[in-house]
C-alpha cells in the first residue's frame, strides 16, 4: 500500500489516514503513557489555541500523529476547546486549498463530503480562461454546510440547481469544504470523547490548570426574560453557551438584542467570551459599536424577522411568532399573554 504521507499531513482527514495509523501501529494509550515527541507536539498545538501563537511544523509523519492525538486530548477538554480547534484547523484548510489545483480540490471534496460530487468543465468566451471548472454537489450535502454560513449569497435561489445537484464555483466549493471540515472535526471529537483511556485524566487535569478556563455558567444567572426570548435569540444564546461559532449576522443580532433587553456592555462581552474565535479587544470594540458608544454614536437596533430569516437565523414557533415582524414584538406578545 502506498500513499502520500506529505499529502496526508496536510489533509489528515483523507481516507488513507486509517491505513497510515494501522501501518504505524498508532495507539493513543502508548503515546499518553510517557513523554515523547508526538505528545509534546500535540500539547504545544493545544496550548497555541489559547495563546494565539502559531504552531511549529514537524515532519509529515509526526504531524499526522500529532493531529490525531491532539484531537483526542481536545475532545476530553470539552466543547469549548473542540470548537476552537475545529475553527482553527478548518481555516487552515481553506488557506491550503487556495493554493491547490482543481484535481486536488476535487479529490478532497469527494473524500470530505461525498463521492457523488461531480466536476464539470465549461467553455467560456473569455480567451484568458477558456474553460471554467464547476462542481455539482448533492443538494442535501450543500444544505448541511451552507446552512451554517449565514450570508444571503449562499441562498439556493442564487445558484443553479438541477435534479438534486447544485452547481458551485471552485471558490464556493472551498468555502463549503472549510465548513465541512469544521463539522467533521466536531463529529470526530465527539466520537473520541466516548473512548476512554485512564492516561487521559491526569493530562486533562494538568492542562486545564494551565489553559485559560472558558466560563459557561455566568449567563444563566443573568437572564432577565427567562424562557421568553424569541426562538431565534434563544438558539443563538444556546449555541454561544455551547461554545459554537456564530455567523456575523448572528453575532450582531444577538448583541443588539442583549442591549435591547438591558444587558450592559460587560455582561454582553462576558457571554461572547464563549466564541471559539473570541478576541477581547475586537469583540469589545464591536459591542461598543453596536451599543452606540463608538463611531456614529448611534445604537444599532435588533434586525427585523425578515432580515433574520434571510440570514437563516429564524426558527419561528407558534403562537409567539405568528404575525410578528420583529423579535422584540415576540417579547411583548409573550409577556402580555402571561398577564
Amino acid at each position: 500500500m502506498s500513499f502520500d504521507v506529505y499529502e496526508l499531513s496536510k489533509y489528515p482527514f483523507l481516507d488513507s489516514l486509517k491505513d497510515f495509523l494501522r501501518l504505524n501501529d498508532f495507539k493513543i494509550e502508548d503515546l499518553l503513557k510517557q513523554p515523547n515527541e508526538v505528545l509534546n507536539a500535540a500539547i504545544e498545538k493545544i496550548k497555541s489555541l489559547a495563546e494565539k501563537k502559531s504552531e511549529s511544523v514537524y515532519p509529515p509523519d509526526i504531524e499526522i500523529k500529532r493531529f490525531v492525538l491532539s484531537m483526542y486530548i481536545v475532545s476530553h477538554l470539552g466543547s469549548f476547546y473542540i470548537e476552537r480547534f475545529a475553527e482553527r484547523e478548518s481555516k487552515k484548510l481553506s488557506k491550503l486549498l487556495k493554493e491547490e489545483d482543481s484535481e486536488e480540490i476535487f479529490k478532497i471534496a469527494r473524500s470530505l463530503i461525498s463521492a457523488r460530487i461531480r466536476r464539470i468543465e465549461r467553455r467560456t468566451k473569455d480567451p484568458k480562461f477558456p474553460t471554467l471548472m464547476t462542481y455539482a454537489m448533492p443538494i442535501k450535502d450543500y444544505l448541511k454546510y451552507a446552512a451554517y454560513l449565514g450570508d444571503y449569497n449562499w441562498s439556493l435561489a442564487f445558484h443553479e440547481i438541477k435534479g438534486g445537484e447544485i452547481l458551485l464555483t471552485s471558490r464556493e466549493l472551498v468555502r463549503i469544504l472549510e465548513e465541512a471540515y469544521r463539522q467533521w472535526i466536531i463529529i470526530k471529537c465527539n466520537e473520541m470523547r466516548e473512548i476512554y483511556t485512564p492516561e487521559i485524566d491526569p493530562l486533562v487535569e494538568h492542562l486545564s490548570k494551565e489553559l485559560p478556563l472558558f466560563r459557561t455558567r455566568k449567563f444563566d444567572e443573568k437572564v432577565v426574560y427567562k424562557g421568553v426570548d424569541p426562538p431565534c435569540m434563544r438558539i443563538l444564546i444556546s449555541d454561544l453557551k455551547q461554545g459554537k461559532k456564530l455567523s456575523h449576522m448572528g453575532n450582531f443580532s444577538l448583541a443588539a438584542y442583549l442591549r435591547a433587553i438591558g444587558y450592559s456592555v460587560e455582561e454582553t462581552l462576558e457571554l461572547f467570551k464563549n466564541l471559539p474565535d473570541f478576541k477581547e479587544s475586537v469583540a469589545r470594540y464591536q459591542i461598543e459599536h453596536i451599543y452606540g458608544l463608538r463611531g456614529a454614536r448611534k445604537a444599532y437596533s435588533v434586525p427585523s424577522c425578515l432580515t433574520l430569516k434571510a440570514a437563516n437565523l429564524c426558527f419561528p414557533e407558534s403562537p409567539g411568532c405568528d404575525n410578528i415582524k420583529h423579535p422584540l414584538q415576540y417579547l411583548r406578545k409573550v409577556k402580555d399573554g402571561r398577564k
Binding site: K144, A147, F158, H159, E160, K162, L306, A310, N323
Partner: protein, 411 residues
C-alpha cells in the same frame, strides 16, 4: 353544536375503517394524538404497535381529530420530548389557503380590526387602516380556493421537489388536509436527516424570501450578470418570468407604472437584445438599472409567481403533529385524503373526500354564509339560501362542524 348528532357518524366511520388504510411508515415509532369530542381535549403521547391496534384505538375512542408526529422516536409514548429520543423527522410541507392570496377572498372573506374597529373584505395580514396585525377574520373555503391550493401544490412538487431537489415521484405523498389545503410528505431518507437549519434554507428558497429582498443587491454585486433561461432551476424560472413580464408590457404600460418616457424609449430600442440575453445561459440584467426603483416591483412580482406559500413552521418544527391520512377532519367531516401525484389533476376535494353519503338533514344557519355558489358532493348549492333547508348529510355535517349551522333534524 349538538355532539350527539354528529358523533355517531364518526363512530361508524372508525368502526368500519380498514386497517390497511392506516399504513403509516414506521407507525410504531410515532406519537399519536387524539382530540376528544366530549372533553375538547387533546390526548397526547399515544403509541400503537401496528395499524390493527391503531384502528382499534380509534374506534374505541372516536376522536374528533387524529394527528401523528412527523418525527419518529425511540420511545414515542413518553410524555417528555427529550426523553422520547428523536430518531428522524420526515420532510413535510403544508400549503394552507389561509396564507395564500386568492381573488375569491374578496367575495367570501372579511376582517375586523381589534385595534381601530375598522373592517374590510378580502385577504390581508394587517389592518388596511391602522396596520395592526390583530384582526378577527371571517373566512370561507370555496371551490376556487382549493383549486388555487392545488396549483400551489403542483408548483411545489414539479418545480421544487422533482426538478430542483431530484426527489422521485414515488417518494412524494400528497394529502388533502380535509379542510383548507394540502400536506406534502417526502419519504426520502436523505431529506429526513436534514436538521432544522438546513430545512430552513429549503423553505426560504421555496417561499422566495431571501430572493425577494436581496436579488437586486445580489445583482449589483455581480455587476448585473446572472444566469438566464438556458440555465436551470430557479435562475432559469426567474428569467423566464421577467421576460414574460417584459413581453407583456408595451411602451404605454411602462410609462403608466412610472418609468419616464425617455427611459422607456431607450428600453424599447434594446428590447430585442434584452430578450436575447435573457434567453441565453448567462443573462445581462443591466436594463434593470435604468428603470430604477420600478425594477424592485418587477422582480417582486416575478419571484412571487415562481414561489410557493408554505407554512414554514410545519416543516421546521420537528415536534410537529400532522393530521393522519384517512382520518376525518373534525371541523369538516371530510376525509383526510391521501393522493398520488397522478391523482391530483382529477381530484376534487369537495367531491372526492366526502365520506357520509347516505341521508339528509335539516339545518338552521347560525353564522352568516357568503352568498356564493358552492359545489359539494355531487350537487351545487347556493349558500345564501340554506336556512331551514333539507341538505345531504355530508353538507349538513360540514356546516355544523364548522359552526355555520346546527343540525336539528336527521332525515
Amino acid at each position: 353544536m349538538d355532539v350527539s348528532k354528529v358523533l355517531p357518524f364518526f363512530r361508524l366511520y372508525y368502526k368500519n375503517l380498514n386497517p390497511e388504510d392506516l399504513s403509516i411508515p414506521q407507525l410504531d415509532r410515532r406519537e399519536f394524538a387524539l382530540w376528544d369530542f366530549l372533553s375538547n381535549n387533546m390526548i397526547r403521547h399515544l403509541a400503537f404497535k401496528n395499524s390493527v391496534e391503531l384502528k382499534e384505538g380509534l374506534s374505541k375512542r372516536t376522536p374528533r381529530h387524529v394527528y401523528y408526529s412527523v418525527s419518529t422516536y425511540e420511545y414515542p409514548f413518553l410524555p417528555d420530548m427529550e426523553m422520547k429520543k428523536m430518531i428522524s423527522t420526515n420532510l413535510v410541507f403544508d400549503i394552507d389557503i389561509d396564507h395564500v392570496y386568492t381573488p375569491c377572498k374578496e367575495i367570501h372573506d372579511s376582517w375586523l380590526c381589534r385595534n381601530c374597529g375598522n373592517s374590510g373584505s378580502g385577504f390581508t395580514d394587517s389592518c388596511k387602516f391602522c396596520g395592526s396585525p390583530s384582526l378577527d377574520k371571517l373566512s370561507f373555503v370555496c371551490n376556487e380556493c382549493l383549486e388555487v391550493a392545488k396549483s400551489e401544490v403542483l408548483k411545489l412538487i414539479e418545480d421544487f421537489l422533482f426538478a430542483d431537489f431530484g426527489i422521485k415521484e414515488d417518494e412524494v405523498k400528497i394529502v388533502f388536509s380535509g379542510n383548507r389545503g394540502y400536506h406534502v410528505h417526502v419519504e426520502n431518507e436523505e431529506f429526513s436527516n436534514l436538521d432544522s437549519k438546513a430545512r430552513n434554507m429549503m423553505i426560504d428558497y421555496i417561499k422566495g424570501i431571501t430572493a425577494r429582498h436581496y436579488f437586486l443587491d445580489f445583482l449589483k454585486k455581480q455587476k448585473y450578470k446572472f444566469k438566464g433561461i438556458a440555465s436551470s432551476g430557479y435562475p432559469s424560472r426567474l428569467a423566464e418570468k421577467i421576460l414574460e413580464e417584459l413581453l407583456a408590457a408595451n411602451e404605454h404600460d411602462l410609462i403608466k407604472i412610472g418609468i419616464s418616457e425617455i427611459k422607456v424609449k431607450d428600453l424599447m430600442a434594446i428590447k430585442e437584445k434584452i430578450i436575447q440575453s435573457l434567453q441565453g445561459y448567462s443573462a445581462d440584467y443591466g436594463f434593470l438599472r435604468s428603470i430604477g426603483s420600478k425594477s424592485k416591483e418587477i422582480i417582486t412580482k416575478a419571484i412571487s409567481d415562481i414561489s410557493v406559500e408554505i407554512d414554514e413552521r410545519v416543516t421546521v418544527d420537528n415536534h410537529r403533529l400532522i393530521r393522519m391520512p384517512n382520518s376525518i377532519h373534525g371541523k369538516t367531516g371530510l376525509r383526510v385524503t391521501p393522493l398520488g401525484y397522478n391523482d391530483l389533476d382529477n381530484f376534487d376535494p369537495f367531491r372526492d373526500s366526502v365520506v357520509f353519503k347516505e341521508g339528509y338533514a335539516r339545518i338552521k344557519i347560525k353564522r352568516k354564509l357568503p352568498s356564493i355558489k358552492f359545489f359539494f358532493g355531487d350537487n351545487e348549492f347556493f349558500l345564501g339560501s340554506l336556512n331551514e333547508a333539507k341538505v345531504p348529510i355530508a353538507l349538513a355535517l360540514y356546516l355544523t362542524l364548522n359552526e355555520y349551522a346546527d343540525i336539528y333534524e336527521l332525515l
